[in-house]
Each structure stands twice: as C-alpha cells, then as structure tokens.
C-alpha cells in the first residue's frame, strides 16, 4: 500500500499541488479532489462488473483528467506529467480494485481504505505547503 501511496504523493506533488499559488483557494479538499474522483470511478466500475485492467487504466487517465480540470487546463504540460499521473492513478486504482474483490464490494470497508489513503495524502499535501 505504501509504495503506491508514495508514488501517488510524488506525482501529485510534482504535477498538481505545486501549481497552487498561496493566494489561491488551496484547501485540502481541492487538493485531493482528483483522487476522490478517481476512487469514485473505480467503485462504480467495480460495481458495473467491468474489466479490471481496462478500468484501472481508465482510472489512471481519470486522475490526470481531474488534475487538469482542477488546474484549469485542457492538456497536460508534457509527457512526463501525463505518464506520472496515469501510472500513479492506475496503481492506486488496481489496489482498490483488489480490495473491492476481497471485500466483495463492501462499501464501508472500501470507504475506510479510501479514507486511509486520503488522510495520508492530505498529510503529505499539507507538508508540501509548509515546505
């Protein structure tokens, strides 16, 4: 779990969190909104009984797309940004997909996992701000 969280943290810090100037609304909720969007997508896809590989890849794209939306952009700045966010998103989605498989789609245990990840990310984003 730690490895994908750290990958996600690195990608978000590099390509998302550092885009918030101090003057802007940089509430912690906004900082984790792309991750929430992605997890919501995974949950819906799992419940629709779709293909794991395809949907986890799509979840990776969803993370990038949400980051772009939240930074008011239509396109990524470069391939590195697109790749980092995609891969981090895909790994996180795969982890959660497996969790859903294990708990047979139990929403409360899924929500616990999501909260754990989000808390870790919020901590990191706050640290990023302090830095």
């Amino acid at each position: 779990m730690d490895s994908f969280i750290s990958k996600l943290q690195t990608a978000l810090r590099k390509h998302y969190w550092n885009r918030f100037p101090n003057t802007e609304d940089n509430s912690s909720h906004r900082k984790i909104r792309p991750v929430e969007d992605m997890f919501e997508y995974v949950f819906k896809a799992w419940n629709a009984k779709l293909d794991r590989k395809t949907e986890c890849a799509l979840a990776g794209s969803k993370l990038l797309d949400s980051v772009l939306d939240n930074t008011g952009r239509r396109f990524a700045s470069n391939v590195e940004e697109a790749n980092d966010l995609y891969l981090a998103g895909m790994d996180a989605a795969s982890f959660l997909w497996d969790e859903l498989d294990e708990t047979r789609g139990n929403q409360s245990s899924f929500q616990i996992k999501v909260n754990e990840i989000i808390t870790a990310l919020q901590k990191e984003s706050a640290l990023g701000k302090e830095e």
Partner: protein
C-alpha cells in the same frame, strides 16, 4: 540554373499545347460542305439512339430526322439550345443545325423515358476531331514530360514546393485553428453532424421503398446517386474520409453498443458481445469485392429506388449486427464497400488526422487515443492514431483529438502523395481495391456516358421499368436478359480482377528488370507500385463525377422539393427544367483532370521506386516503364471522353 531551364521547357510545352488546342479548334476549320443540309435519320428507343455514333464534317449543316419506336423520347445536343420531343409514330425534323466546332459532343434524351433515361446518349463526332488529337498528343507530352522531369533528383523551386510539398497544421492557424479545435473536441460534434444526415437518410429509405419508381424523380436515386456519389469523390480529395464522419450507416450500431449518443466513458457495460474479429478477415477483401459486386448491378442500383433502398437497409442491418458482436467499427473497416474505396483513395487526400510529434506519442504510456479516456473513446477503427501515416483506416471520428491529453493530435493539410511517401508496407487486398476502382472508373464512364447501348442493356438485364417496393416484380428479368447480365458481369469482373492486374504485373516486372533490382521480389514491386493508382484513380473518378453532376444537376434539385416524386413543390424547385450545365465543355474540363492524375501517378511511382530501390537511377528506370502504362491508361480514358 539547370532546373530553371527544365521548368521553362515544361511550361513552354504546356503553353504551346494549350495554344495549339485553341487555334486548331477555332482557326483551322475546313470550309463548310457545299449544298443542301445532310439529312441524318436517327431512331430512338429505350435507352438508345441509332446510330450510336454520327460523324459530321466541321461546318456541315445537318437535319436530324428523328423517330421513336416505343415511347416519347427527347432530343438534345450538347451546346445547342435544342430540346425537342419525339413522340412514337411521328417523324420529327430537327435543324438545319450547323456544326462549326470540331470535337465530340453528345446527343441526350431530353424527355423522361424510363429508369436509364439520364444515360441515354449518342455521340456526334465533328471531324476532324482535332481536340481529341491534340489532347491525345498532350497526354503523351504530359506522360513523357513527367518521366523525363524525374530523371534527376531536383530541388523543387519554392513555388512548386509550396504547391506540392506542403504540410499545414490546421489547428494552429491563427483564429480559425483554435475555433476548429474547440469544435472538433466538443463531444456533441459527431452527433450534431450526423443528425441532419440521418434525417436525409430516412427520406432516402422512405422514398426508395414508396416513392416514384422512376429513378430520376426519386430522392433516393437523384440525391444519392447523382449528388452524393459525385460529392464523395471531391470530398475524398479535399476532406479525406469526412463522409465517414457523418455516415449514418454505422451510427445505430455504435449508439446501441456504447449505450449513448454522444457522451463518453462512464463505468457502464457495452451492449455488445465484444468478440474478436477473425484474423483471416482482417483485410478489405469483403469490402473490395462488395464494391465490385454492387458495381455489377450498378445500372439497376442507380436507377431503381427499391434496389437502393434494399441495399441501404442491408448495410444498416449488417453494421448493427456487427457492432453488437464485435463492438468497434469492423463494419466500416472490413465490410462497407463505400468505406473501402473512400479509405483507399483517402491516402491521396489533402486532409489527414495525424500526431504533431510521433515521439511524444511513443513516450506516452496511457495512449488514450487507443484505449480511450475521460474525454474520448479509444480509436473505434482499432488503430494507433499517434503512429498513423496512412489515411486508409482513419475514419475521421476525431475521438483521438478529444481523448489526447497532450494536445498532440491534429488535422493536417498536406500534399496529396504524403502517405505514399511514407508507405512502408504493402497489402494485396489494398492493391486489388486499387485495380477494381481504376477499372470501374473506365467502365462507369462507358456504361453511363458512352454511346454503346449493349453495355447498358446487358448491365440492365433488358428491363425498361422503374420499381419501388410495390412494383418490385417488374424487375424480373427474362432468361436472355439474365444471360446477358451474366456475360457483362464476367467481362467486368475479369478485367477488374484478372486482366488489368495481370497487365500491371507485367509492367511492374519489366520495371523491376529495367531497374536491375535484385533486392525486392516481383510481388513486392507489383504491390508497391499499385499504390500509384490511389491518386490516379481518384482523379479519374472526379472526372466522371463532373459529367454526372453537370448533366444531371436538375434531378437532385427537383428531388429536394419533391422527394417522393409525387408532384410536390416544397422548395420551389420541383418543376426545374432539365438543362445540362456547359455539357459541351465537359471533356475540356475532364482532360486536364486526367492529366493531373497522370502526373500524380508518375510522381508517386517515382517515390515508390525510391523507397523500393533506394537509388535514383533505378527508381527512374522503373518509373519510365510504369509511366508508359500510366500514360497508356490516360490515353484510353481520353479516348473515351473525346475520341
């Protein structure tokens, strides 16, 4: 300096040829024949004039004594304001008519007389047929000139480079580019473009089944087989597969499979079995043979509304079923006859969807253009858009433009032979698509605008009646009619599938020998050279389309006002008189188009030769041999048009 000299020579030759054509047709006219006007008896019947070809001397005065052996026909001569009815049992005298301009012109039936009426023509050859002789000579000059020009590698002058070797990123043009990008990336654009077309299609089907059985009076024939048929050829050249963007045939299947009209991925199951398309059918053989098959019944298809209606319904059902089994656009890729030829020639189109920088696409891991993403579906044509270098299989759905998060996909306007320059692989099915299309351009010109009745009659199975769903039984042919059609089908198929490819193979084999090449197999050289037919064939079809529209434009205009042929006049064009547009000048417009096709074929052949042999000298030798064949083909086409 040397280059400049060559260009001066080339321009001088072209200028002299054009001046020669003008002066010989207008100044050196033989003195007119003496005495009373010559009387020429012309007999009309469904759908022929007898004699089929009339020879007249320039300056001669002629009186046509016209009779009809069956129903009322009309008599119109290109370039003369003569529109006369010829009722059965009467002898109508037309003239005296004085023929001052040498050349070939057409007599056309001017009164609706049955399904093949628009194609009831005869030839008048006003001797000496100097325009033909001059264009014949000009064809040879253009052919040899193009080959000689390619003798040495040259740096094209700036003007030529700008005309023939350009590439413009349309989405980066100031002001227009960003607007176009927004439009193409809007999810609703596909649906918005499709919707009006879908409504038209409903009218096509309804009129096909229940409208007037006479093709010329029916929307399904007049709009589809005159307007659409011609427009698509121009569309291919200027807008590539734009027709596929707005084609309603696969729409139902796609909407049903995706379970949405315009929106993109949401976590929902597709309504499809998602089967894998069989590997043995991963080609365009079905589509290419389908196009040939449809062409074998073309005299029926383009004149009988019910036949068109049945074809469209069959295609829609096929598209729907295939979508539900295989999900993606396998119908368009492998089955649709129109898609096959549009795709084949689209490689010679000015427009292309391409990546801005291939290396970015290669580095990009997610490849939303293939898999799909939050803003766009993955390529429904099962391609990797980032690596596209060939227009054949890009359906211009613009999903890759929407899906790409890197803004690396764009729309390019480029020189017509860019794809051929980049072509690295050859395919037998594509080569045969080229042979079929090229052969059929000649056959269509012969069937529809040639004077030879037997060709039309054999293809038509001797039937004189039009038909909708209620009178479909009228299409039952006699045994003799069916036998004739079988003969016609064998002739057309043999030429398209065997004879022309065989001739092409012999020439490509000779080209390989002339190039003294030992690296490539004969088959590889043959297949590679066949791609020169993509631009050439397209230009021949454009030449054909010009006649189709210039002569018959009034029928679609009428059909817009009266789609069912029931006497309506919704838009005020329902009673528009049939008046061909500049029909006596059509060959003079067509011939230069054929020349452009010839030049493109020869330059493409040379590019292919350079790719194959990696040596200028060898490429030139190969081009010289293949250029001779291309020139010969142009002469045949020019002879059909003017001889």
């Amino acid at each position: 300096m040397r280059n400049l000299k060559w260009h001066i020579v080339a321009v001088t030759i072209i200028a002299l040829s054009l001046a020669g054509i003008y002066f010989s047709t207008h100044l050196f006219i033989p003195t007119s024949a003496q005495g009373a006007p010559r009387i020429i008896d012309v007999e009309t019947k469904q759908f022929a004039f007898t004699p089929e070809t009339i020879h007249i001397t320039t300056g001669e005065e002629v009186i046509f004594r016209v009779t009809s052996t069956d129903i009322t026909h009309g008599f119109y001569i290109d370039g003369f304001n003569i529109f006369t009815d010829v009722p059965p049992g009467e002898t109508v005298e037309i003239g005296p008519v004085k023929f001052n301009d040498p050349g070939k012109i057409k007599i056309r039936c001017a009164t609706l007389c049955g399904p093949l009426h628009p194609f009831m023509v005869a030839d008048i050859v006003v001797e000496p047929n100097t325009p033909y002789y001059l264009f014949f000579a000009a064809t040879i000059v253009v052919g040899i000139g193009s080959i000689v020009y390619l003798n040495k590698p040259r740096q094209s002058p700036a003007l030529l480079k700008r005309l023939f070797d350009f590439e413009i990123d349309l989405l980066k043009i100031k002001k227009i580019g960003p607007l176009l990008k927004r439009v193409l990336q809007w999810r609703g654009i596909h649906f918005a473009l499709l919707l009006p077309n879908l409504l038209i299609f409903v009218i096509v089907l309804a009129s096909g089944f229940f409208g007037n059985p006479m093709g010329a009076l029916n929307f399904s024939i007049a709009v589809v087989w005159i307007l659409w048929f011609a427009a698509v050829e121009f569309m291919i050249l200027f807008a590539s597969r734009f027709w596929c963007t707005v084609c309603p045939l696969p729409a139902f299947g796609e909407w049903l499979a995706r379970r949405r009209l315009a929106a993109v991925h949401e976590p929902k199951k597709w309504f499809s079995l998602k089967k894998v398309w069989p590997k043995s059918l991963d080609n365009i053989w079905i589509a290419a043979l389908g196009f040939l098959g449809i062409s074998l019944i073309i005299p029926w298809l383009v004149t009988r509304p019910v036949v068109s209606g049945l074809l469209f319904i069959t295609l829609i059902v096929a598209a729907l079923v295939l979508h539900l089994i295989y999900t993606e656009r396998h119908f368009c890729l492998h089955v649709c006859p129109a898609s096959a030829y549009i795709g084949y020639h689209a490689s010679a189109s000015l427009l292309a969807v391409r990546s801005r920088d291939k290396s970015i696409c290669d580095k990009h891991i997610a490849k939303e253009c293939v898999r799909g993403g939050p803003k766009g579906y993955g390529c429904p044509w099962k391609r990797y858009p980032g690596g596209l270098d060939w227009n054949n299989y890009c359906g211009q759905c613009f999903e890759c433009l929407k899906a790409c998060p890197l803004d690396n996909m764009t729309l390019k306007y480029r020189a017509v032979d860019k794809d051929i320059q980049a072509k690295t692989h050859t395919k037998t099915d594509e080569a045969w698509m080229g042979f079929i299309r090229f052969t059929l351009a000649v056959f269509y010109e012969l069937v529809f605008f040639g004077p030879y009745f037997w060709i039309k009659d054999w293809g038509n199975m001797g039937i004189t009646m039009g038909a909708n769903l209620l009178s479909i039984n009228l299409l039952t042919p006699t045994l003799q009619g069916f036998r004739n059609w079988l003969g016609w089908a064998v002739i057309v198929s043999s030429v398209a599938l065997i004879i022309f490819p065989a001739v092409f193979f012999v020439f490509s084999w000779l080209a390989k020998r002339a190039a003294k090449d030992k690296e490539n197999t004969s088959k590889n050289v043959f297949l590679a050279y066949s791609y020169s037919l993509a631009p050439y064939g397209l230009l021949l079809w454009i030449a054909f389309a010009i006649t189709l529209v210039a002569v018959n434009w009034a029928y679609p205009m009428r059909a817009f006002s009266d789609p069912f042929g029931w006497g309506w006049n919704l838009l005020g064009t329902g009673n528009l008189a049939w008046r061909p547009f500049m029909s006596n000048y059509i060959p003079l417009i067509q011939a230069p188009i054929v020349f452009v096709g010839l030049v493109l074929a020869i330059t493409s052949t040379h590019r292919i030769g350079l790719n194959l042999f990696k040596d200028q000298k060898k490429a030139f030798r190969g081009t010289a041999v293949m250029g001779a064949l291309h020139t010969l083909m142009a002469i045949i086409f020019i002879t059909l048009l003017m001889g």
